[in-house]
Protein backbone atom coordinates (compact mmCIF):
# COMPACT_ATOMS: atom_id res chain seq x y z
CA UNK A 1 0.00 0.00 0.00
CA UNK A 2 1.28 3.37 -0.93
CA UNK A 3 0.80 5.07 2.36
CA UNK A 4 3.18 2.71 4.08
CA UNK A 5 6.02 4.49 2.30
CA UNK A 6 4.82 7.77 3.71
CA UNK A 7 4.93 6.39 7.22
CA UNK A 8 8.57 5.33 6.85
CA UNK A 9 9.54 8.68 5.40
CA UNK A 10 7.85 10.61 8.16
CA UNK A 11 9.35 8.37 10.82
CA UNK A 12 12.81 8.89 9.39
CA UNK A 13 12.25 12.64 9.32
CA UNK A 14 11.10 12.63 12.93
CA UNK A 15 14.14 10.65 14.01
CA UNK A 16 16.47 13.02 12.21
CA UNK A 17 14.66 16.13 13.34
CA UNK A 18 16.52 16.93 16.57
CA UNK A 19 19.84 17.11 14.74
CA UNK A 20 18.85 20.30 13.04
CA UNK A 21 17.77 22.03 16.20
CA UNK A 22 19.69 25.05 17.41
CA UNK A 23 21.25 25.51 14.00
CA UNK A 24 18.29 25.63 11.68
CA UNK A 25 15.38 25.95 13.98
CA UNK A 26 14.86 26.51 17.66
CA UNK A 27 14.79 23.65 20.12
CA UNK A 28 11.29 24.76 21.06
CA UNK A 29 9.97 22.62 18.23
CA UNK A 30 11.43 19.54 19.84
CA UNK A 31 9.32 20.13 22.93
CA UNK A 32 6.34 20.84 20.70
CA UNK A 33 6.75 17.53 18.90
CA UNK A 34 7.30 15.69 22.16
CA UNK A 35 4.03 17.12 23.41
CA UNK A 36 2.34 15.91 20.24
CA UNK A 37 3.76 12.42 20.75
CA UNK A 38 2.45 12.26 24.30
CA UNK A 39 -1.04 13.36 23.31
CA UNK A 40 -0.99 11.02 20.34
CA UNK A 41 -0.56 8.09 22.70
CA UNK A 42 -3.71 8.80 24.64
CA UNK A 43 -5.66 9.64 21.50
CA UNK A 44 -4.65 6.35 19.88
CA UNK A 45 -5.89 4.59 22.99
CA UNK A 46 -9.07 6.62 22.80
CA UNK A 47 -9.52 5.66 19.18
CA UNK A 48 -9.49 1.98 20.10
CA UNK A 49 -12.45 2.65 22.35
CA UNK A 50 -14.30 5.23 20.35
CA UNK A 51 -13.28 4.73 16.76
CA UNK A 52 -13.13 0.96 16.67
CA UNK A 53 -15.60 -0.05 19.35
CA UNK A 54 -17.92 2.91 18.97
CA UNK A 55 -17.97 3.99 22.61
CA UNK A 56 -17.19 7.66 22.84
CA UNK A 57 -16.06 8.67 26.29
CA UNK A 58 -16.14 12.27 27.42
CA UNK A 59 -14.01 11.50 30.41
CA UNK A 60 -10.68 10.32 29.07
CA UNK A 61 -9.02 13.15 30.91
CA UNK A 62 -9.40 11.04 34.05
CA UNK A 63 -6.79 8.59 32.81
CA UNK A 64 -4.51 11.35 31.66
CA UNK A 65 -4.68 13.06 35.03
CA UNK A 66 -4.48 9.94 37.16
CA UNK A 67 -1.45 8.67 35.28
CA UNK A 68 0.17 12.05 35.64
CA UNK A 69 -0.45 12.36 39.37
CA UNK A 70 0.61 8.77 40.09
CA UNK A 71 3.84 9.07 38.16
CA UNK A 72 4.47 12.54 39.54
CA UNK A 73 3.99 11.53 43.15
CA UNK A 74 6.15 8.42 42.82
CA UNK A 75 8.96 10.24 41.03
CA UNK A 76 8.91 13.07 43.51
CA UNK A 77 8.47 11.25 46.79
CA UNK A 78 9.64 7.71 46.28
CA UNK A 79 12.11 7.05 43.53
CA UNK A 80 13.38 8.81 40.42
CA UNK A 81 13.57 5.55 38.51
CA UNK A 82 11.13 5.36 35.67
CA UNK A 83 10.06 1.74 35.89
CA UNK A 84 8.29 1.64 39.28
CA UNK A 85 5.98 4.54 38.46
CA UNK A 86 5.41 3.07 35.03
CA UNK A 87 4.25 -0.26 36.38
CA UNK A 88 2.24 1.36 39.10
CA UNK A 89 0.56 3.69 36.64
CA UNK A 90 -0.32 0.88 34.27
CA UNK A 91 -1.66 -1.21 37.11
CA UNK A 92 -3.76 1.51 38.72
CA UNK A 93 -5.04 2.83 35.40
CA UNK A 94 -6.17 -0.67 34.58
CA UNK A 95 -7.88 -1.03 37.93
CA UNK A 96 -9.67 2.30 37.64
CA UNK A 97 -10.63 1.51 34.08
CA UNK A 98 -11.96 -1.81 35.23
CA UNK A 99 -14.10 -0.32 37.97
CA UNK A 100 -15.44 2.57 35.96
CA UNK A 101 -15.75 0.43 32.88
CA UNK A 102 -17.63 -2.23 34.76
CA UNK A 103 -20.09 0.35 35.98
CA UNK A 104 -20.37 2.15 32.69
CA UNK A 105 -20.69 -0.59 30.15
CA UNK A 106 -24.31 -1.09 30.86
CA UNK A 107 -24.97 2.25 29.28
CA UNK A 108 -24.61 3.27 25.72
CA UNK A 109 -24.21 6.29 23.58
CA UNK A 110 -25.37 9.48 25.21
CA UNK A 111 -25.59 7.92 28.63
CA UNK A 112 -22.07 6.60 28.30
CA UNK A 113 -20.96 10.12 27.40
CA UNK A 114 -22.65 11.53 30.48
CA UNK A 115 -21.37 8.86 32.79
CA UNK A 116 -17.78 9.21 31.72
CA UNK A 117 -18.21 12.98 31.96
CA UNK A 118 -19.54 12.72 35.50
CA UNK A 119 -16.77 10.36 36.58
CA UNK A 120 -14.06 12.64 35.29
CA UNK A 121 -15.68 15.61 37.04
CA UNK A 122 -15.37 13.60 40.21
CA UNK A 123 -11.63 13.34 39.72
CA UNK A 124 -11.48 17.01 38.82
CA UNK A 125 -13.13 18.20 41.99
CA UNK A 126 -11.04 15.84 44.11
CA UNK A 127 -7.75 16.88 42.55
CA UNK A 128 -8.52 20.52 43.18
CA UNK A 129 -9.16 20.02 46.87
CA UNK A 130 -6.78 17.22 47.89
CA UNK A 131 -3.85 18.90 49.60
CA UNK A 132 -1.76 15.74 49.57
CA UNK A 133 -1.29 16.05 45.85
CA UNK A 134 -1.09 19.80 45.86
CA UNK A 135 -4.74 20.78 45.51
CA UNK A 136 -5.24 23.72 43.20
CA UNK A 137 -1.53 24.45 43.19
CA UNK A 138 -0.86 21.19 41.47
CA UNK A 139 2.18 19.00 41.85
CA UNK A 140 5.36 20.80 41.01
CA UNK A 141 9.09 20.02 40.93
CA UNK A 142 8.61 16.51 39.57
CA UNK A 143 12.10 15.23 38.75
CA UNK A 144 13.02 13.81 35.37
CA UNK A 145 12.99 10.05 35.47
CA UNK A 146 15.98 7.74 35.07
CA UNK A 147 15.56 4.97 32.54
CA UNK A 148 18.77 3.06 32.85
CA UNK A 149 21.67 3.72 35.16
CA UNK A 150 23.19 6.89 33.92
CA UNK A 151 20.55 7.65 31.34
CA UNK A 152 17.88 10.02 32.51
CA UNK A 153 15.29 11.83 30.49
CA UNK A 154 16.58 15.23 31.45
CA UNK A 155 17.57 16.49 28.05
CA UNK A 156 15.04 17.67 25.53
CA UNK A 157 16.37 15.20 22.98
CA UNK A 158 16.25 12.17 25.21
CA UNK A 159 12.63 12.82 26.12
CA UNK A 160 11.81 13.38 22.50
CA UNK A 161 13.16 10.01 21.44
CA UNK A 162 11.62 8.22 24.37
CA UNK A 163 8.21 9.67 23.65
CA UNK A 164 8.57 8.88 19.96
CA UNK A 165 9.57 5.31 20.74
CA UNK A 166 6.64 4.98 23.11
CA UNK A 167 4.27 6.29 20.47
CA UNK A 168 5.56 3.91 17.83
CA UNK A 169 5.28 1.00 20.24
CA UNK A 170 1.80 2.05 21.26
CA UNK A 171 0.72 2.41 17.67
CA UNK A 172 2.08 -0.99 16.69
CA UNK A 173 0.40 -2.60 19.66
CA UNK A 174 -2.88 -0.96 18.75
CA UNK A 175 -2.45 -2.06 15.16
CA UNK A 176 -1.93 -5.62 16.32
CA UNK A 177 -5.07 -5.46 18.41
CA UNK A 178 -7.22 -4.07 15.65
CA UNK A 179 -5.98 -6.58 13.13
CA UNK A 180 -6.53 -9.53 15.43
CA UNK A 181 -9.71 -11.49 15.83
CA UNK A 182 -10.43 -9.41 18.91
CA UNK A 183 -10.25 -6.35 16.76
CA UNK A 184 -12.89 -7.71 14.46
CA UNK A 185 -15.19 -8.19 17.41
CA UNK A 186 -14.57 -4.61 18.45
CA UNK A 187 -15.73 -3.41 15.09
CA UNK A 188 -18.64 -5.76 15.30
CA UNK A 189 -19.74 -4.09 18.50
CA UNK A 190 -19.55 -0.73 16.85
CA UNK A 191 -21.43 -1.72 13.74
CA UNK A 192 -24.17 -3.82 15.21
CA UNK A 193 -23.96 -4.90 18.78
CA UNK A 194 -27.07 -7.03 18.70
CA UNK A 195 -25.83 -9.10 15.83
CA UNK A 196 -22.43 -9.54 17.38
CA UNK A 197 -24.06 -10.74 20.57
CA UNK A 198 -26.18 -13.07 18.53
CA UNK A 199 -23.07 -14.53 17.01
CA UNK A 200 -22.05 -15.60 20.46
CA UNK A 201 -19.64 -12.89 21.50
CA UNK A 202 -19.77 -11.37 24.95
CA UNK A 203 -19.90 -7.75 23.85
CA UNK A 204 -19.77 -6.42 27.38
CA UNK A 205 -16.51 -8.18 28.07
CA UNK A 206 -15.12 -6.90 24.82
CA UNK A 207 -16.01 -3.33 25.64
CA UNK A 208 -14.63 -3.66 29.13
CA UNK A 209 -11.34 -5.00 27.81
CA UNK A 210 -11.01 -2.21 25.32
CA UNK A 211 -11.85 0.28 28.03
CA UNK A 212 -9.04 -1.06 30.17
CA UNK A 213 -6.54 -1.00 27.32
CA UNK A 214 -7.62 2.50 26.44
CA UNK A 215 -7.24 3.51 30.07
CA UNK A 216 -3.72 2.14 30.22
CA UNK A 217 -2.72 4.14 27.16
CA UNK A 218 -4.15 7.21 28.84
CA UNK A 219 -2.40 6.61 32.13
CA UNK A 220 0.91 6.02 30.44
CA UNK A 221 0.59 9.21 28.42
CA UNK A 222 -0.29 11.07 31.61
CA UNK A 223 2.81 9.76 33.29
CA UNK A 224 4.95 10.96 30.41
CA UNK A 225 3.25 14.34 30.62
CA UNK A 226 4.04 14.67 34.30
CA UNK A 227 7.71 13.91 33.76
CA UNK A 228 7.90 16.14 30.73
CA UNK A 229 6.35 19.21 32.31
CA UNK A 230 7.87 18.49 35.71
CA UNK A 231 4.45 19.53 36.85
CA UNK A 232 0.93 18.15 37.17
CA UNK A 233 -2.04 20.44 37.19
CA UNK A 234 -5.50 19.44 38.39
CA UNK A 235 -6.76 21.06 35.21
CA UNK A 236 -5.57 17.94 33.44
CA UNK A 237 -8.90 16.52 34.61
CA UNK A 238 -10.94 19.33 33.11
CA UNK A 239 -13.59 18.33 30.57
CA UNK A 240 -11.93 20.54 28.00
CA UNK A 241 -9.04 18.08 27.99
CA UNK A 242 -11.44 15.23 27.32
CA UNK A 243 -12.95 17.39 24.62
CA UNK A 244 -9.53 18.04 23.13
CA UNK A 245 -8.86 14.33 22.94
CA UNK A 246 -12.13 13.76 21.12
CA UNK A 247 -11.37 16.66 18.83
CA UNK A 248 -7.94 15.30 17.98
CA UNK A 249 -9.36 11.90 17.18
CA UNK A 250 -12.17 13.30 15.10
CA UNK A 251 -10.11 15.79 13.16
CA UNK A 252 -7.57 13.16 12.29
CA UNK A 253 -10.09 10.51 11.53
CA UNK A 254 -11.60 8.09 14.01
CA UNK A 255 -11.11 4.39 13.63
CA UNK A 256 -7.87 4.69 11.76
CA UNK A 257 -5.16 4.79 14.44
CA UNK A 258 -3.10 6.99 12.17
CA UNK A 259 -5.80 9.63 12.24
CA UNK A 260 -5.42 10.28 15.98
CA UNK A 261 -1.72 10.86 15.55
CA UNK A 262 -2.34 13.32 12.74
CA UNK A 263 -5.15 14.89 14.72
CA UNK A 264 -2.95 15.45 17.76
CA UNK A 265 -0.33 17.10 15.63
CA UNK A 266 -2.89 19.23 13.90
CA UNK A 267 -4.61 20.49 17.01
CA UNK A 268 -1.42 21.25 18.91
CA UNK A 269 0.33 22.95 16.03
CA UNK A 270 -2.77 24.87 15.01
CA UNK A 271 -3.34 25.90 18.59
CA UNK A 272 0.22 27.09 18.90
CA UNK A 273 0.20 29.09 15.67
CA UNK A 274 -3.25 30.52 16.19
CA UNK A 275 -2.72 31.51 19.80
CA UNK A 276 0.37 33.47 18.84
CA UNK A 277 -1.15 35.26 15.86
CA UNK A 278 -4.76 35.65 16.83
CA UNK A 279 -4.44 35.55 20.57
CA UNK A 280 -7.97 36.75 21.02
CA UNK A 281 -9.94 34.64 18.60
CA UNK A 282 -8.08 31.38 18.21
CA UNK A 283 -10.61 29.39 20.23
CA UNK A 284 -13.29 30.51 17.86
CA UNK A 285 -11.35 29.42 14.82
CA UNK A 286 -10.54 26.06 16.32
CA UNK A 287 -14.19 25.57 17.18
CA UNK A 288 -15.19 26.58 13.67
CA UNK A 289 -12.72 24.14 12.12
CA UNK A 290 -14.02 21.42 14.38
CA UNK A 291 -17.62 22.15 13.45
CA UNK A 292 -16.74 22.34 9.76
CA UNK A 293 -15.00 18.97 9.87
CA UNK A 294 -18.01 17.36 11.51
CA UNK A 295 -20.33 18.85 8.95
CA UNK A 296 -18.36 18.19 5.84
CA UNK A 297 -15.96 15.40 6.55
CA UNK A 298 -16.69 13.51 9.73
CA UNK A 299 -14.00 11.06 8.80
CA UNK A 300 -11.43 13.73 9.44
CA UNK A 301 -8.18 14.22 7.66
CA UNK A 302 -7.82 10.54 6.86
CA UNK A 303 -11.11 10.57 5.00
CA UNK A 304 -10.07 13.65 3.08
CA UNK A 305 -6.73 12.13 2.14
CA UNK A 306 -8.44 8.94 1.08
CA UNK A 307 -10.76 10.87 -1.18
CA UNK A 308 -7.85 12.71 -2.68
CA UNK A 309 -5.84 9.57 -3.29
CA UNK A 310 -8.89 7.89 -4.78
CA UNK A 311 -9.33 10.75 -7.15
CA UNK A 312 -5.69 10.68 -8.02
CA UNK A 313 -5.86 6.96 -8.59
CA UNK A 314 -8.78 7.42 -10.91
CA UNK A 315 -6.72 9.90 -12.79
CA UNK A 316 -3.71 7.66 -13.22
CA UNK A 317 -5.24 4.22 -13.51
CA UNK A 318 -7.16 4.48 -16.69
CA UNK A 319 -9.50 1.64 -17.10
CA UNK A 320 -9.28 0.47 -13.50
CA UNK A 321 -12.45 0.97 -11.44
Amino acid sequence: MKHRYWIWIILAALIAFPWGAHTFYSSFYISLLTRIFIYAIIVVGFDLLAGYTGMISYGHAMFFGTGAYLTGMVLKHWTPWFWPPLFLTILISAVIAYIIGFLSIRTREIYFVFLTFAFSQFFFVTAHSWDFIGASNGLSAVPKPIIFPGISLSGDNSFYYFALAALVAGYLLALLITQSAFGKVMVGVRENEERTKFLGYDTRKTILRVFIISGIYGGFAGGLMAAFNSFVSPNLYHPTVSGEIIMMALLGGMGTLVGPIIGSGLVIILGDILSSWLAESWMMILGAIFAAVILFSPGGVMAISQKISQRMKRGTDLGHP
Binding site: F119, T126, M283, M284, I294, L295, P298
Partner: protein, 287 residues
Protein backbone atom coordinates in the same frame (compact mmCIF):
# COMPACT_ATOMS: atom_id res chain seq x y z
CA UNK B 1 -31.20 25.64 63.12
CA UNK B 2 -34.10 27.98 63.51
CA UNK B 3 -37.17 28.03 61.38
CA UNK B 4 -36.46 31.28 59.59
CA UNK B 5 -33.07 30.01 58.44
CA UNK B 6 -34.68 26.84 57.19
CA UNK B 7 -37.38 28.74 55.38
CA UNK B 8 -34.87 31.14 53.89
CA UNK B 9 -32.77 28.32 52.52
CA UNK B 10 -35.84 26.59 51.17
CA UNK B 11 -37.09 29.70 49.51
CA UNK B 12 -33.72 30.45 48.00
CA UNK B 13 -33.43 26.94 46.78
CA UNK B 14 -36.76 27.22 45.05
CA UNK B 15 -35.72 30.49 43.47
CA UNK B 16 -32.50 29.05 42.13
CA UNK B 17 -34.52 26.12 40.94
CA UNK B 18 -37.06 28.29 39.17
CA UNK B 19 -34.34 30.01 37.19
CA UNK B 20 -32.92 26.60 36.38
CA UNK B 21 -36.30 25.47 35.05
CA UNK B 22 -36.05 27.97 32.25
CA UNK B 23 -32.63 26.73 31.23
CA UNK B 24 -33.25 23.06 31.71
CA UNK B 25 -36.61 22.96 29.98
CA UNK B 26 -35.05 24.37 26.83
CA UNK B 27 -32.43 21.65 26.86
CA UNK B 28 -34.95 18.96 27.66
CA UNK B 29 -37.22 20.12 24.88
CA UNK B 30 -34.58 20.02 22.21
CA UNK B 31 -33.44 16.64 23.35
CA UNK B 32 -36.84 15.17 23.74
CA UNK B 33 -38.17 16.36 20.43
CA UNK B 34 -35.15 16.32 18.23
CA UNK B 35 -32.83 13.96 20.00
CA UNK B 36 -30.18 16.63 19.94
CA UNK B 37 -28.21 17.23 23.10
CA UNK B 38 -27.22 20.82 22.67
CA UNK B 39 -23.91 21.44 24.40
CA UNK B 40 -24.10 25.01 23.21
CA UNK B 41 -27.12 25.58 25.41
CA UNK B 42 -25.08 27.26 28.12
CA UNK B 43 -23.61 29.50 25.48
CA UNK B 44 -27.06 30.53 24.25
CA UNK B 45 -28.08 31.34 27.79
CA UNK B 46 -24.94 33.42 28.16
CA UNK B 47 -25.73 35.22 24.92
CA UNK B 48 -29.12 36.06 26.34
CA UNK B 49 -27.46 37.58 29.39
CA UNK B 50 -25.07 39.66 27.31
CA UNK B 51 -27.72 40.84 24.87
CA UNK B 52 -29.93 41.64 27.81
CA UNK B 53 -27.15 43.72 29.30
CA UNK B 54 -26.59 45.68 26.10
CA UNK B 55 -30.31 46.22 25.56
CA UNK B 56 -30.71 47.56 29.08
CA UNK B 57 -27.67 49.79 28.58
CA UNK B 58 -29.10 51.23 25.38
CA UNK B 59 -32.74 51.53 26.24
CA UNK B 60 -32.78 51.61 30.01
CA UNK B 61 -35.81 49.39 29.80
CA UNK B 62 -35.62 46.04 31.55
CA UNK B 63 -38.78 44.63 29.99
CA UNK B 64 -37.58 45.43 26.51
CA UNK B 65 -34.52 43.33 27.21
CA UNK B 66 -36.68 40.52 28.52
CA UNK B 67 -38.60 40.46 25.28
CA UNK B 68 -35.94 41.27 22.70
CA UNK B 69 -33.05 39.18 23.99
CA UNK B 70 -34.94 35.89 23.67
CA UNK B 71 -36.12 36.92 20.22
CA UNK B 72 -32.59 37.69 19.08
CA UNK B 73 -31.14 34.53 20.50
CA UNK B 74 -34.08 32.53 19.18
CA UNK B 75 -33.23 33.86 15.76
CA UNK B 76 -29.62 32.87 16.22
CA UNK B 77 -30.90 29.47 17.25
CA UNK B 78 -32.83 29.06 14.02
CA UNK B 79 -29.75 29.96 12.02
CA UNK B 80 -27.64 27.55 14.03
CA UNK B 81 -30.11 24.76 13.56
CA UNK B 82 -30.69 25.21 9.86
CA UNK B 83 -27.11 25.49 8.84
CA UNK B 84 -25.25 23.30 11.21
CA UNK B 85 -27.47 20.82 12.99
CA UNK B 86 -30.00 19.97 10.35
CA UNK B 87 -27.49 18.40 7.97
CA UNK B 88 -26.65 15.93 10.69
CA UNK B 89 -30.09 14.49 11.33
CA UNK B 90 -30.14 10.77 10.95
CA UNK B 91 -26.46 10.47 11.61
CA UNK B 92 -24.95 9.29 14.83
CA UNK B 93 -26.32 11.69 17.48
CA UNK B 94 -22.88 11.94 18.97
CA UNK B 95 -21.81 13.91 15.93
CA UNK B 96 -24.51 16.44 16.73
CA UNK B 97 -23.27 16.65 20.27
CA UNK B 98 -19.70 17.23 19.18
CA UNK B 99 -20.87 19.83 16.70
CA UNK B 100 -22.60 21.74 19.43
CA UNK B 101 -19.39 21.56 21.45
CA UNK B 102 -17.63 23.32 18.60
CA UNK B 103 -20.42 25.88 18.41
CA UNK B 104 -20.13 26.47 22.14
CA UNK B 105 -16.46 27.31 21.70
CA UNK B 106 -17.32 29.78 18.98
CA UNK B 107 -20.00 31.46 21.06
CA UNK B 108 -17.76 31.75 24.11
CA UNK B 109 -14.96 33.36 22.13
CA UNK B 110 -17.34 35.63 20.25
CA UNK B 111 -18.72 36.90 23.53
CA UNK B 112 -15.20 37.66 24.72
CA UNK B 113 -14.46 39.54 21.53
CA UNK B 114 -17.59 41.66 21.51
CA UNK B 115 -18.10 42.40 25.16
CA UNK B 116 -14.62 42.01 26.58
CA UNK B 117 -13.60 40.08 29.64
CA UNK B 118 -14.78 42.45 32.33
CA UNK B 119 -17.65 41.54 34.61
CA UNK B 120 -20.96 43.01 33.69
CA UNK B 121 -24.26 43.19 35.41
CA UNK B 122 -27.78 44.11 34.39
CA UNK B 123 -29.13 46.96 36.45
CA UNK B 124 -32.64 46.37 37.63
CA UNK B 125 -35.37 48.97 37.63
CA UNK B 126 -35.92 50.57 41.01
CA UNK B 127 -39.03 48.67 41.96
CA UNK B 128 -37.14 45.41 41.80
CA UNK B 129 -34.46 46.41 44.21
CA UNK B 130 -34.66 45.93 47.89
CA UNK B 131 -36.41 43.19 49.75
CA UNK B 132 -39.65 42.21 51.36
CA UNK B 133 -40.08 40.73 54.81
CA UNK B 134 -42.43 38.05 55.86
CA UNK B 135 -42.35 35.38 58.51
CA UNK B 136 -39.06 36.83 59.69
CA UNK B 137 -37.38 36.16 56.37
CA UNK B 138 -35.80 38.68 54.06
CA UNK B 139 -36.57 37.93 50.46
CA UNK B 140 -35.22 40.16 47.69
CA UNK B 141 -38.01 41.56 45.58
CA UNK B 142 -36.50 40.51 42.31
CA UNK B 143 -36.20 36.92 43.36
CA UNK B 144 -39.85 36.86 44.28
CA UNK B 145 -40.55 38.07 40.80
CA UNK B 146 -38.30 35.38 39.32
CA UNK B 147 -40.20 32.77 41.25
CA UNK B 148 -43.59 33.82 39.98
CA UNK B 149 -42.39 34.58 36.50
CA UNK B 150 -40.68 31.24 36.00
CA UNK B 151 -43.69 29.44 37.38
CA UNK B 152 -45.90 31.28 34.92
CA UNK B 153 -43.63 30.50 31.98
CA UNK B 154 -43.42 26.88 33.02
CA UNK B 155 -47.19 26.70 33.25
CA UNK B 156 -47.67 28.21 29.82
CA UNK B 157 -45.17 25.79 28.35
CA UNK B 158 -46.86 22.88 30.05
CA UNK B 159 -50.27 23.80 28.75
CA UNK B 160 -48.93 24.38 25.27
CA UNK B 161 -47.25 21.04 25.12
CA UNK B 162 -50.18 19.16 26.58
CA UNK B 163 -53.05 20.81 24.88
CA UNK B 164 -52.24 22.78 21.79
CA UNK B 165 -51.92 21.51 18.27
CA UNK B 166 -48.25 22.31 18.22
CA UNK B 167 -47.73 20.36 21.37
CA UNK B 168 -49.31 17.29 19.91
CA UNK B 169 -47.23 17.55 16.79
CA UNK B 170 -44.12 17.89 18.91
CA UNK B 171 -44.91 14.94 21.05
CA UNK B 172 -45.84 12.87 18.05
CA UNK B 173 -42.70 13.87 16.28
CA UNK B 174 -40.68 12.47 19.13
CA UNK B 175 -42.13 9.07 18.67
CA UNK B 176 -42.78 8.69 15.04
CA UNK B 177 -41.12 10.94 12.57
CA UNK B 178 -42.48 9.23 9.52
CA UNK B 179 -46.09 9.35 10.50
CA UNK B 180 -45.88 13.02 11.23
CA UNK B 181 -44.27 13.57 7.88
CA UNK B 182 -46.97 11.53 6.24
CA UNK B 183 -49.52 13.94 7.61
CA UNK B 184 -47.91 16.61 5.54
CA UNK B 185 -46.41 18.46 8.44
CA UNK B 186 -42.94 19.68 7.70
CA UNK B 187 -41.16 18.10 10.61
CA UNK B 188 -37.98 19.96 9.88
CA UNK B 189 -39.68 23.27 10.26
CA UNK B 190 -41.09 22.08 13.55
CA UNK B 191 -37.60 21.15 14.64
CA UNK B 192 -36.36 24.60 13.79
CA UNK B 193 -39.06 26.20 15.86
CA UNK B 194 -38.48 23.87 18.76
CA UNK B 195 -34.80 24.63 18.70
CA UNK B 196 -35.53 28.34 18.53
CA UNK B 197 -37.90 27.99 21.47
CA UNK B 198 -35.22 26.22 23.47
CA UNK B 199 -32.76 28.95 22.63
CA UNK B 200 -35.24 31.68 23.51
CA UNK B 201 -35.98 30.06 26.86
CA UNK B 202 -32.28 29.86 27.55
CA UNK B 203 -31.88 33.52 26.68
CA UNK B 204 -34.74 34.49 28.94
CA UNK B 205 -33.06 32.59 31.74
CA UNK B 206 -29.88 34.41 30.81
CA UNK B 207 -31.41 37.83 31.24
CA UNK B 208 -32.81 36.85 34.61
CA UNK B 209 -29.58 35.31 35.78
CA UNK B 210 -27.63 38.28 34.50
CA UNK B 211 -29.73 40.49 36.73
CA UNK B 212 -29.08 38.39 39.82
CA UNK B 213 -25.45 37.58 39.27
CA UNK B 214 -22.40 38.80 37.42
CA UNK B 215 -22.07 38.13 33.71
CA UNK B 216 -18.74 36.85 32.44
CA UNK B 217 -17.47 34.95 29.39
CA UNK B 218 -16.99 31.74 31.34
CA UNK B 219 -20.49 31.41 32.71
CA UNK B 220 -21.68 29.12 29.92
CA UNK B 221 -19.90 26.09 31.33
CA UNK B 222 -21.52 26.30 34.73
CA UNK B 223 -24.93 26.91 33.18
CA UNK B 224 -24.55 23.95 30.88
CA UNK B 225 -23.48 21.62 33.65
CA UNK B 226 -26.42 22.69 35.82
CA UNK B 227 -28.81 22.15 32.94
CA UNK B 228 -27.26 18.76 32.20
CA UNK B 229 -27.55 17.68 35.80
CA UNK B 230 -31.21 18.65 35.91
CA UNK B 231 -31.99 16.94 32.65
CA UNK B 232 -30.21 13.74 33.59
CA UNK B 233 -31.71 13.54 37.05
CA UNK B 234 -35.14 14.69 36.05
CA UNK B 235 -35.32 12.65 32.94
CA UNK B 236 -34.33 13.64 29.46
CA UNK B 237 -37.13 14.84 27.31
CA UNK B 238 -39.51 15.11 30.23
CA UNK B 239 -40.79 18.55 31.04
CA UNK B 240 -42.09 17.46 34.40
CA UNK B 241 -38.67 16.03 35.09
CA UNK B 242 -37.01 19.31 34.23
CA UNK B 243 -39.23 21.12 36.74
CA UNK B 244 -38.74 18.65 39.54
CA UNK B 245 -35.06 18.25 38.81
CA UNK B 246 -34.50 21.99 38.83
CA UNK B 247 -36.22 22.44 42.16
CA UNK B 248 -34.31 19.53 43.64
CA UNK B 249 -31.02 20.84 42.41
CA UNK B 250 -31.78 24.36 43.57
CA UNK B 251 -32.65 23.25 47.07
CA UNK B 252 -29.62 20.98 47.23
CA UNK B 253 -27.40 23.86 46.22
CA UNK B 254 -28.92 26.16 48.80
CA UNK B 255 -28.67 23.72 51.68
CA UNK B 256 -25.44 22.17 50.51
CA UNK B 257 -23.72 25.53 50.45
CA UNK B 258 -24.70 26.04 54.04
CA UNK B 259 -23.62 22.77 55.46
CA UNK B 260 -21.16 20.88 53.36
CA UNK B 261 -19.21 23.46 51.42
CA UNK B 262 -16.50 21.22 50.03
CA UNK B 263 -18.65 18.19 49.52
CA UNK B 264 -21.33 20.18 47.72
CA UNK B 265 -19.65 20.17 44.34
CA UNK B 266 -18.60 16.59 44.81
CA UNK B 267 -21.96 15.21 45.80
CA UNK B 268 -23.71 16.63 42.80
CA UNK B 269 -21.60 14.46 40.50
CA UNK B 270 -22.06 11.41 42.70
CA UNK B 271 -25.79 11.95 42.35
CA UNK B 272 -25.49 12.14 38.59
CA UNK B 273 -23.46 8.93 38.44
CA UNK B 274 -25.94 7.14 40.66
CA UNK B 275 -28.90 8.25 38.58
CA UNK B 276 -27.22 7.32 35.33
CA UNK B 277 -26.33 3.90 36.63
CA UNK B 278 -29.54 2.91 38.25
CA UNK B 279 -32.19 4.94 36.55
CA UNK B 280 -30.81 6.42 33.40
CA UNK B 281 -34.19 7.56 32.25
CA UNK B 282 -34.24 9.86 35.18
CA UNK B 283 -37.04 10.33 37.60
CA UNK B 284 -39.65 10.81 34.97
CA UNK B 285 -39.98 9.11 31.68
CA UNK B 286 -40.54 11.07 28.53
CA UNK B 287 -43.93 12.58 28.24
Amino acid sequence: MDLSLLLTNLLYGVTIGSALILIASGLSLTFGVMGVLNFAHGGLCMLGAYFGYTLVQISGNFWLAMVLAPLIVGGIGILMESFTIRPLYGLNPLYQLLLTVGLAMIIANAVLLFWGGDQLSITLPGYFRGYVTFFGIFYPRFRLFVLFFSAAVALILWITIRRSKWGIVIRAGMHDLETVNAFGINIYRVFSYVFALGAALAALAGVIIGSMRAINPEMDFELLTSALLVVVIGGMGSFRGAVVGSLLLGITEAFGAQFFTGAAKFSVWVLMVVVLLFRPEGLFKEN
